[in-house]
Amino acid sequence: MSGCRFTAAKTVAEAVDSLVAAKGDGHIIAGGVALVILMNEKLLQPSWLIDISRIDELKGITVGADRTIRIGAAVTHREVARSSEIAAVYPMLTEMASEIACGRIMNRGTIGGNICLADPQGDPPVAMLALDATFRIAGPGGKREVPARSFFEDLYVTALGEDELLSDIHIPAPVTNTGTAFGKFAARKAMDYSSTISTAVSLVRDPNGGGIAEIGLGLGGCGVTPVWPEKTEAVLRGRKPDDETFAVMRATLADEIEPIGDSLYSADYKRRVAGIILTRTVKMAYQRTEGASQ
């Protein structure tokens, strides 16, 4: 007997009601790929599991005529990776989702679950930060919105209250001359779960002069949370993507982030790698802006 209660919620309201009734002891489970590891390792013995994996309101990918994107929290990484509509708007999102771990994890893991876990190395948060996404959160008081850039508070701590769940993700439409890219560094080529560095870039090229008109960045593996490097964005804005700019970018980035050294890489190495990967990813995003030359 596990002594664990199970609710297969059919609606968001039902899920929220269960969370409230559980008084802080409830666990939302969608794909389960993060939660069940904790259970298998005996780090978590849940008393109430609230399954949201089949709630219709949490599913679906919608791309509006205005090219804004809405993704349900319980959409799997595979669904994001296979969505031709998303690929047409933000190739970077497709790249990011396709490179998560491996097929098995992509088939169950959800974008919402990954975001709410707030693993500093997780990839979806990194993309959300670059794209300036907004998260819609459902709770007993109804729905509220939190920008991705304010959502990640501390190690595995987000802006979610204990009786709230993430319901959907809203991504603004790209403006003209936008290019996006995602770049990752890891010690092996798949199933990268430790010590990875990832970077997401959304960039707008100024058609007059070719400078970086607007830029959105996100970083993984560079701190205790997924990182939104505002200062690094600032030094890129208005500049051309040349070697001097990138040198300034790397110097600013090195100062701005506090990566955590581990048994594989030191903090200084991670700083350096972040700079190199970001350089490559910015260049890639720039090349993808419509009409970009070389």
């Binding site: 069940v36 298998n40 399954d51 097929g103």
Partner: protein, 153 residues
């Protein structure tokens, strides 16, 4: 608190009463005696527990059975039919794709799903599909060649 679920396992409907915390791998191996699906890391990395749920490969060690009520599960035991190996199984035999065999059911299920979805995958697509299954014996080459041989048949 137990949960009643129905799973279609290898084509057969099974009504089961499970604990919310029961993983699919423990139901398959310990409850149903279907030990073709293996268990090692229990964190979704090695792939030795791979089964298909609604035709897609998943880590059965990370899947709570209670969450897949009504779904279809396929394991390595489903690949043979009427006393014959599937072409993929036979290719694993003749290409030397199996040494100790512990990773084999996981690779077979992942490759089966790939071939159902993409009947003629390129070599790169095969490697991409199998990138998440660990093998310590073969170095992967003969596994990929075995899948390729069926892909190009």
């Amino acid at each position: 608190m137990s949960v009643d679920i129905t799973l279609t396992i290898n084509g057969q409907r099974r009504a089961l009463t499970v604990e919310p915390t029961d993983t699919l791998v423990s139901i398959l191996r310990d409850r149903l005696g279907m030990t073709g699906t293996h268990k090692d890391c229990c964190m979704g990395i090695c792939g030795s527990c791979t089964v298909l749920v609604n035709d897609r490969p998943v880590s059965s060690c990370l899947l709570l059975a209670a969450q897949i009520d009504g779904d279809a599960v396929r394991t390595v035991e489903s690949l043979e039919s009427k006393g014959s190996l599937s072409p993929l199984q036979e290719a694993f035999l003749t290409f030397g794709a199996v040494q100790c065999g512990y990773c084999t059911p996981g690779f077979l299920m992942t490759a089966t799903s790939l071939l159902e979805e993409t009947p003629s995958p390129s070599r790169d697509e095969i490697v991409e599909a199998l990138k998440g299954n660990l093998c310590r014996c073969t170095g992967y080459k003969k596994i990929i060649e075995a899948v390729e041989s069926v892909a190009n048949a």
